[in-house]
């Protein structure tokens, strides 16, 4: 993987506690690392916050914290996740992501170079997603009190969906559409974390999802509910929705795309790709009449199932051999099996 860093190389310089102290070193860090990466007209250097222009519609507001280990993984780094994750939470509300805040908790001793790589990725991801990072904060904690970098981003977006996008809007008979193949992000992280080597690198799917949502809206599709498939994967997201709506979601295992490399890694590790995290995939609940158009708009989209009234609150999966079983929420974390 290549990471392009537009900033002057800072050799082996480390983050010191004083970088978070609010004094000269803090200012230096802002001037050298953060300000050039996130430069935009709304950033006001001498102010405590950003003043945003008035909005013409409902606002969506969300926040998320990012603590991934390792910081850099195939297909991205914590910076990509910190932008895309929050952008996607807004997109799932049917909102165009506009403004983000970025709060950094840095561990004493972190290489400034590493921070630059992360901030550079955030800058690129923000550009790609069409959002501006308008305010931020940095704290430094003693060595051992954090894992390199923790990032919190909060985001504001303007709702462009004509009707509310939420589990409450789901109707019996709605189709469940999945935006692409699942499991790549979780397996990419795990393969680096555990030092596992698979034939052919598996890269994270981290990506902003607003454009896909916007194109669904442009096609006139009535979006009842959207959900990105992060922690706990597809299975957990569908369970959350089934419970929230009080409906049953029936899906077909054969319809769910999993790349062969991801499937292979999961087979070896004893993991179920339905529970593995994604950072660039979502499900959309749309009326039956909109399915064909929705699939025409989503290049990797597939229909995986349908909403039914009963049994309320459960997700049922038709297995490959044609039997039906529950698809439950994950208990604890997925742990690799003995044999």
């Amino acid at each position: 993987m290549k990471l392009h860093c537009p900033f002057p190389a800072a050799s082996e310089e480390h983050i010191l506690l004083a970088h978070g102290g609010g004094g000269r070193l803090t200012q230096q860090l802002i001037d050298r690392v953060f300000r050039p990466a996130f430069a935009n007209p709304l950033q006001q250097a001498e102010h405590d916050g950003a003043i945003l222009p008035p909005a013409s519609a409902h606002l969506a507001f969300t926040t998320d914290s990012y603590v991934v280990h390792p910081l850099v993984f195939p297909g991205g780094n914590i910076g990509d996740l910190a932008i895309n994750g929050t952008v996607n939470d807004l997109a799932m509300c049917g909102a165009r992501p506009l403004y983000l805040s970025a709060g950094f908790i840095l561990e004493e001793g972190l290489l400034v170079k590493t921070l630059q790589v992360v901030v550079s990725a955030m800058s690129a991801a923000a550009r790609r997603a069409g959002v501006a990072v308008v305010t931020g904060d940095t704290k430094v904690v003693e060595r051992g009190k954090a894992d390199g970098i923790f990032i919190n981003t909060a985001g504001v977006g303007i709702v462009e969906a004509p009707s509310p996008v939420s589990p409450a809007a789901i109707a019996s008979g709605d189709a469940v559409i999945l935006s692409g193949d699942i499991g790549a992000h979780g397996v990419a992280i795990l393969s680096v974390r555990e030092g596992l080597e698979f034939e052919g690198e598996i890269a994270s799917d981290t990506a902003p999802l607003w454009q896909e949502v916007r194109s669904l809206l442009d096609a006139g599709i009535e979006l009842h509910c959207l959900r990105d498939l992060t922690r706990g994967g597809l299975a957990t997201s569908l369970n959350e929705i089934a419970v929230a709506r009080g409906a049953a979601i029936r899906i077909r295992e054969v319809a769910i795309p999993v790349r062969e490399s991801v499937q292979g890694a999961c087979e070896i590790l004893g993991l179920d790709p339905l529970y593995v995290a994604n950072e660039g995939r979502f499900v959309a609940f749309v009326p039956e009449r909109d399915v064909t158009r929705a699939l025409a708009v989503l290049p990797r989209g597939v229909r995986i199932g349908t909403v039914h009234p009963d049994p309320a609150g459960l997700v049922l999966l038709e297995s490959r051999i044609g039997a039906t079983r529950m698809l439950d929420t994950l208990t604890g974390e997925q742990l690799p099996r003995i044999c």
Partner: protein, 365 residues
């Protein structure tokens, strides 16, 4: 995916199910020994395809489930020693001993690490000569060769900071114990393909002959298991009791000679306590005398004697095929994966957890 998809084919599965239906004239009870097979059966819903008079009961082949609470307590205690790195396969971490699991020990400050191979634990010992590295050597014959190899490598590297906490169990003595219990319902076995890939099936021939019970060495994919059932039913219907091999792509009669020799070099057969079942003579492995320096029980002291289970868990009956998980009164209410009363509800291969995760709605209805 090659070597996977062709064994999960809906049309193929239905075809074998029809063949089973065609030859079945009376009720039969078949036990799959291995927890991995239980998992496949319940997860893919195989029982929905089978004729009603075929009953599958789930055997004791979940190593996580049968590891005694006292040994887990010992593992937790060792892991809490600040000088120790405790390495384990992932699914042992959540299993409670009499009070704590290894995951809870980790939360209390223990250095507990998930490894994918015992050889990773040997590598940890080489990287951290100042720490004692203890590997939880759990499993049936399937994991024994790799665990034996870890000890062999530790000896070769002259490591003095590597030990294993041995909890190895063997399949054939467990099958005999089941067959000799008075209330045994099992009329045929699906033997665990992975175990037989290592050990072959010679050991099963006297069992089939003595107890007049068909044994079919079976793989782990849905079509493997259906085919294993078809072969077992064919034997039962024709009055035969032989060892047959369904899992031909992986298993030979004498297994893997190198693996067996390595096991025999490092380990010897000894008595073993099975959680939920009790003591079974000659049913486990322990380190041979020349390798006792790698025995964590020698280095850290033996576990206290087994603590009898005091709750209403019927794990012993489930593991011997005498009850199916939903027949337990605590199932799904007082006993869930979040608050388990017994190990079969904890492990991903445990029969109770499999029913809870995949079949709960049927049990309710």
């Amino acid at each position: 995916m090659k070597f996977v998809d062709e064994y999960r084919d809906a049309d193929g599965a239905r075809r074998i199910a029809r063949e089973i239906d065609a030859v079945t004239t009376q009720p039969w009870t078949i036990m799959e020994v291995c927890g991995g097979q239980t998992h496949t059966i319940v997860k893919s819903g195989l029982e929905e395809l089978l004729p009603r008079n075929i009953t599958l009961v789930h055997g004791p082949g979940c190593p996580v489930c049968v590891t005694p609470a006292a040994l887990i307590d010992r593992a937790v205690e060792i892991s809490l020693d600040p000088g120790v790195i405790f390495a384990s396969f992932g699914d042992m971490l959540r299993v409670p001993g009499s009070s704590h699991s290894l995951l809870q020990a980790r939360a209390r400050g223990a250095d507990v690490r998930i490894v994918y191979s015992p050889l990773d634990a040997v590598a940890l010992a080489r990287e951290h000569p100042e720490r004692q590295v203890v590997f939880f050597a759990v499993g049936f014959e399937t994991t024994a060769p790799a665990n034996a190899m870890a000890v062999w490598q530790a000896r070769r590297h002259g490591l003095t900071n590597f030990t294993i906490l041995v909890a190895h169990v063997l399949v054939p003595p467990a099958m005999r114990a089941i067959l000799e219990s008075e209330d045994c319902r099992v009329q045929a076995f699906l033997a665990a393909g992975h175990v037989c890939a290592v050990m072959g099936w010679v050991e099963y021939e006297p069992i089939a002959a003595r107890y007049r019970v068909p044994v079919v060495v079976t793989g782990f994919e849905p079509m493997d298991i259906l085919e294993g059932i078809r072969m077992a039913v064919a034997q039962l219907e024709s009055g035969r009791a032989e060892v047959e091999n369904q899992y031909r792509r992986a298993v030979q009669r004498r297994g893997n000679r190198h693996a067996r020799e390595l096991i025999a070099e490092i380990f010897e057969v000894g008595p073993r306590e099975w959680r939920g079942v009790g003591a079974i003579p000659e049913s486990g492995l322990r380190l041979r005398e020349p390798y006792l320096e790698f025995d964590a029980e020698k280095r850290f002291g033996a576990p206290p004697s087994a603590v009898p289970a005091e709750n209403e868990c019927i794990a012993g009956l489930v593991l011997r095929g005498l009850r199916r998980p939903p027949e337990c009164l605590a199932f799904g209410n007082r006993c869930t994966p979040d608050a388990p009363l017994g190990a079969p509800m904890v492990s991903s291969e445990g029969a109770c957890a499999a029913y809870y995760l995949y079949r709960r709605m049927r049990v309710r209805s």
